[in-house]
Symmetry: C2
Subunit: 384 residues, 2 copies
């Protein structure tokens, strides 16, 4: 298949920041793209060859969009899977496959999948709705505190809540969910695995994630993780095991916990470019976005090593500000060496909204970490 | 001034590959752009917020385009300067300024400028037309062989010819020109200087350029140049001197010869991102395209150091092929570590047409050079 400067058309479901960053590399390779997103202001409207506005959960919209392309991928998991099934049946290449997406879309199924395949994960129980969970909690069949997770449609801390008492359950939505044992952990780690259509596999280095305690959003992603090499090897091996069992095509971001005893437990996965891999644009020989394109088009995978140490700081809307965004301190951070802001293109900020990220690269990790802190303390996403 | 996710609009005259690569960084910063290019198939039609088709040499077209933007830059020198003068008079920020462009557009003026400012350059004579040059050559007022250069509109080897006999002059166009002494040189070098609106200045490392002997197009650009540090220092100092005298805003790519005696002579300059800086996308802390944007918007300049060694190979149309392009050997080069192809998005290939480039990065320069050779021998721009 010839992709470069031809009539070949790659479809991307979702036009957010991940789609936007994918388009840097489709443009670089001159691979033509169609993008579907519900918002006319989607960040990916620029850079695509054709942009379609439409509902990603609507069967007809997704099916008809799929008919305009030669290979279909996603930048968000919440898309109409029945449409993908039908497109795949009719011969379209869909990566990740609807089968993979179906397993991942539902956190209950995802956890069961780990259990079935002997992949270490925190103990959990599934519940069809909040009443069933309340009954179990009242009967002490689940132990407080535990982590409540909505089975579907959760992202960036939405759909996840620590439950410390029965009354905490009263504010939760009445949806299918899981209750997961709270595992005390030292670190949150992630490994991105790339797997091409013909089965070539590469893993990126283990990264370390620091979360904002309240918003439950990643604050820093640090590559390489400052952990023992034995733990790093274990995390990479488990990520590979997960990748093999999912048999996915494209990227699989595997989020993990490093426990107090240096066990590694799988938390969850995302079958696409991931926040934990944004550092790779500046730090790696091959960015995760280019790698995803290589994988789904069955091109040879690129080198996943890093040129330099990389740290990513998320730019989220500051509390107390809603409206036209203003990036306070941008000039100050641009004056620091090795600092690259990525502005996603959302005009309106609101508290904790993901508005962009900043990558800090340096040949020296300690220096990079210092600069990351400085960046974080300098830039503020507000409105004026 | 606030550029990020606002109504601010940057205008780019020219929509070729340089514009296309500039747009990666305007997208990254979410700076809105308008692009003007004569071709509806221009590579920069994707990624701009608005694309206008029109003649860059037409006063009205350029003037009206300028009225749609807040800051105006170029990716090609051959644009209507009278329109830029008028826009600048009316208060538009135009970088580089029409004054800088006027000096550079005419190679005779450019050479006189070097002479006036004591900047070392190869000896030359100016001629108003080919007849005047023939008269001088017949009277032995210029010595054969010499380098004939069209004063205007030359690029990529067009408008440059080595003249070895009077009869060589018969095939040359009847235009204003210069006759330059052929200086035997060891190396062709280049330094890109970035200068911001408020006068901050940074230079990129000296690169070494290897030219295709027939097509007079760059084959390899090697960063850092494998030259003596004393010569590198001299080249950087001369580039800075040129930059100061031009008083430009934005990038200035300074092409130079290293003579047999290790003198450094300025050949010519380009006041914009340049082929000799393409390596910077993968190898440098700040790519030349991001740097150009920082400079013209008066943002702090980024670090010009390299993370790793970088070599660029131009992808030009192979001789004997005209038509729908096919990149033979693409999968083979993608399988080599540290290899990044950039495909400009031109559907039709023809002999020596610039179709793309490939960057090779490696922590080891010797290894990078070996891989560059391998890439060059593997990929071929043909039609099928």
């Amino acid at each position: 298949m010839n992709y470069f400067s031809t009539d070949f058309r790659l479809g991307i479901l979702g036009g957010g920041q991940l789609g936007k960053m994918l388009l840097y590399d489709t443009r670089k390779f001159d691979i033509a793209t169609n993008v579907l997103d519900p918002s006319k202001d989607a960040p990916s409207q620029y850079g695509a060859h054709q942009f379609f506005q439409g509902d990603l959960m609507d069967f007809e919209t997704v099916y008809r969009f799929g008919k305009t392309v030669d290979v279909l991928t996603i930048e968000i998991e919440n898309v109409n899977l029945d449409a993908l099934d039908k497109l795949e049946e009719e011969g379209l290449k869909v990566f990740p496959s609807p089968k993979t997406l179906r397993l991942i879309q539902n956190k209950g199924n995802q956890k069961d999948f780990y259990t079935t395949h002997n992949i270490p994960t925190a103990p959990y129980k599934r519940f069809s709705d909040i009443e069933a969970l309340k009954t179990a909690a009242t009967a002490n069949e689940v132990t407080m505190p535990f982590v409540w997770k909505s089975a579907q449609f959760g992202y960036d801390g939405n759909g996840v809540k620590v439950v410390r008492s029965i009354t905490d359950l009263d504010v939760l939505p009445n949806v299918e969910c899981i209750a997961e044992v709270m595992v005390p952990f030292k670190n949150e780690l992630a490994v991105i695995v790339a797997r091409s259509a013909s089965g070539e596999i590469k893993t990126y280095p283990v990264v370390e994630m620091e979360f904002h305690p309240e918003a439950n959003q990643v604050e820093y992603v640090i590559c390489p993780a400052r952990i023992d090499s034995a733990v790093a090897d274990k995390a990479r091996a488990i990520a590979l095991q997960v990748s093999e069992k999912f048999n996915h095509v494209g990227l699989l971001a595997v989020e993990m916990f490093q426990t107090q005893d240096d066990d590694v437990l799988v938390n969850e996965v995302a079958p696409r470019p991931h926040n934990s891999g944004h550092y790779s644009i500046e730090a790696s020989y091959t960015s995760q976005f280019e790698q995803h394109i290589r994988a789904i088009l069955d091109l040879p995978l690129g080198n996943t090593d890093s040129k330099v140490a990389g740290i990513m700081v998320n730019l989220v809307g500051a509390e107390g500000y809603t409206g036209q965004v203003y990036y306070e301190g941008m000039e100050d951070i641009l004056a620091i060496e090795g600092v690259t802001p990525h502005i996603y293109g959302k005009r309106e900020t609101r508290p904790f909204r993901k508005m962009g990220h900043v990558t800090i690269v340096n040949s020296d990790m300690t220096k990079a970490r210092e600069i990351a802190q400085q960046v974080k303390e300098t830039i503020k996403v507000i409105s004026k």
